[in-house]
Symmetry: C2
Subunit: 452 residues, 2 copies
């Protein structure tokens, strides 16, 4: 009996072979798509559905690509010929919210924003806030180790997950981690699963570490600089001065121009770059004033707002970046991260690469944590060789500056060719062997992260 | 040529076979000691020394026990017959301190307190603060995933390590992790090494995530309650109310009596338990008042101090617990952690176990994060069977309440018999296989964590 027949016999109407669903599962938001069409999309509605799908996959040695909302930017959830797509998007239950223990237990398919809307009713939030939070799932956030705007102050996903329930490739269910603040029983497999991009197992539940909603004001500072290097130096100076913003976003001139055009705002000063900074908590106002002083000392034309609505308006410019890039054509969105002091040097490298390769690379950065998103613009659907060559140059520059080739998007298919370069061959082989302990047949997301 | 001869030929005067050194390496602060004497103590002074020792160990299939200051409480660094002790205690260099990037690169043998004294000169600190910080090494803190008093507010070791340099069993050196705030390149092996208790490799360097020294006041609240259950309920109420103390320590009546006797203070009221709480940061005073109100509403006789010296005096009572227990005879120090709401129920279980087994179990707790240290008192050097039976009962109770058998001390030898019970057999076997990827010959800390 074929794989498809076995899936249909076992999972009935959950097995979807419509052309539209198969096509959709080929691609994510990176623009990249897998070759060919997958066998089927299984819309799992329970842990048992996930286990049953994996039992069939193991018995038939069929590759499985786990998928949430498909908002990834590295191609990790793209499925092609011969692969089963295992969607957990329908598993959206919030099983438990405990304000007294600052934890929630959730299913993986719930959207980050939907979870936080519910948590807000309890005075709580889950801190990871990728820019995609309105459309990305908690399971996807965990699988990619997603970052966001608030990481310097409020941590990354790894800091906000206490445990995960993981279905292995052979269908067995493991409970990893704990519900207590502390716990060092054995190896920390929860942390290993965060960011593993579907190569170790399927996350079917997560125990999340929550925070109380932050009391007090939110202040927003917008500052315009003569150029991107000055803006980068100013943001590094803020970090070096010991003030901790909640958000510190940098936009270079090309990004700012594109967003202003998209939103039909007056054109910005030619060459001007912008920092948008938010402070929160009990010292928000004092911190905002201290930051404004630093920015002015770095030639920043600076305004401070204590109004939340005005703050959201200022941040909306940054949040429109993805749409603005889409309006300019096709782009390869990169994701290097460097130590914060190296940000000005990284912007110099990007300017050099633009010149050397004759490319436009509008760049935004989570300047509070040193994570840059250079957008390599090009025409047509396929990434041209000179863009790959420029990206290669970019990655090497980031590593030279003490950085990493991906801060929050992951390796997927788009960066796997550079993985061994950053890890070193010994560590790369060690990581593959660890993945093989979880998935000895190699049926979980083959060809992703670790190139076959 | 014997292992010892090979070590001596290769490492010369770094190889120590004095009776005193060999005896010392048999035991840690748990009171437990390994059987027999190890082959030698190698006092590594460089990464190359560590690599050379491990090459010889691999070539000769000799077990290696890595050791820092020997302050562990689970026997993980105890070495016995036929084993090489690899001490990294002499590797104390601070290679780099970067205030602008909030990171430091250090060698593993430096004491936590010595590191923080140096960081303080830069206005910085490394948040992990095990009670042993004056005598324990950073490498040991990483190897055990050590906790401490400040974890609820400032996180655990896993949150404060960006990368580690790891020498594998065969002597190869790997650089794991990154220097940037974000980084999701491949599997998070850094987090896997934290808390791995010497089973995966030897940490020879660490890139630590630092914090700025917290500005503002430190306020200390001391409250006395009629009994331990009332104190536990009051501490859970503080957490549930959404105020975040930096420190919240609980002492039961037996602990309080023992410390008062040790310090020659007036005897406390019979049966009384105590909470000692500190708040810090810009809202310290307001938070202290809010907490005092909650404690008074829970029958706590409460005083608030805004004086740092007075605060340290109040905390000194808690910090004298270890010495007070030692003055009472031998004790088995346990380390269960439960969700914070379950603390009153956990104290009920401890009272039940005291009655059922006819034991005295003075207990202190890091009440802010639900981590309890019951001290099982007994006579003589060996843990008697009824104490093991009572400890078994304790672990099962903690797991029933959603907790874990070790919050911060680790598994070592003292808790390995319960590891599979908490993890489940499937996860236990998976963890062993992962350790075997790092150490295929099984020469790193054999018999620890995963019982052979």
């Amino acid at each position: 009996m074929s794989v498809l027949s076995q899936l249909q016999e076992s999972l009935g109407a959950l097995v979807d072979t419509s052309r539209a669903s198969l096509e959709e599962a080929r691609a994510d938001r990176s623009g990249h798509a897998a070759a060919g069409l997958p066998v089927a999309v299984v819309h799992a509605e329970s842990v048992e559905d996930v286990q049953q799908t994996l039992r069939i996959a193991t018995a038939t040695r069929t590759p499985v690509v786990v998928r949430g909302a498909g908002t990834g930017l590295a191609g990790a959830a793209n499925a092609g010929t011969g692969e089963i797509v295992l969607s957990v998007r329908r598993m959206t239950a919030i099983r438990e919210v405990r304000a007294d223990d600052l934890l929630a237990v959730v299913e993986p398919g719930i959207l980050n924003a939907d979870l936080n809307a519910e948590l807000g009713r309890h005075g709580l939030w889950w801190a990871p806030d990728p820019a995609s939070r309105d459309i990305s799932t908690v399971g996807g956030n965990i699988a990619t180790g997603a970052g966001g705007l608030l990481c310097a102050k409020y941590g990354v996903v790894r800091d906000a997950v206490l445990g995960v329930d993981l279905v292995l490739a052979d269908g067995r269910l493991l409970h990893l981690g704990h519900r207590s603040v502390k716990g060092v029983t054995g190896l920390d497999l929860t942390a290993l699963v965060v960011g593993s991009e579907g190569t170790l197992g399927v996350v079917v539940g997560a125990t999340l570490k929550l925070r109380r909603l932050v009391p007090g004001d939110t202040c927003t500072i917008a500052a315009t600089f003569p150029g991107v290097r000055a803006a980068a130096a100013a943001s590094a100076a803020v970090t070096a001065a010991g003030v901790q913003p909640a958000i510190m976003e940098l936009m270079d001139a090309a990004s700012l121009e594109a967003v202003h055009a998209l939103l039909a705002l007056p054109a910005p000063t030619t060459g001007a770059a912008q920092l948008t900074i938010q402070t929160d908590g009990p010292a928000a106002r004092a911190e905002a004033e201290a930051i404004a002083d630093i920015l002015r000392a770095h030639d920043g034309s600076t305004v401070v707002s204590h109004d939340r609505t005005e703050g959201e308006r200022l941040l909306a410019i940054r949040r429109s970046m993805h749409a603005a890039m889409a309006s300019l054509g096709t782009s390869l969105i990169e994701d290097v991260a460097v130590p914060r002091s190296a940000m000005p040097a990284m912007f110099d490298e990007i300017a050099r690469i633009e010149r050397e390769y004759g490319l436009r690379i509008p760049t935004v950065a989570h300047a509070g944590d040193g994570n840059l998103h250079p957008n390599f613009l090009f025409d047509g659907p396929e990434v041209p060789p000179e863009v790959w060559a420029a990206a290669d140059d970019l990655f090497r520059a980031a590593i030279r500056l003490g950085g990493t080739l991906t801060g929050e998007h992951g390796i997927g298919v788009l960066k796997r060719r550079w993985l061994a370069e950053e890890l070193g061959d010994d560590q790369w082989h060690l990581q593959r062997q660890i993945a093989a302990v979880f998935d000895p047949l190699g049926i979980l997301n083959p060809g992703k992260v670790f190139d076959a």
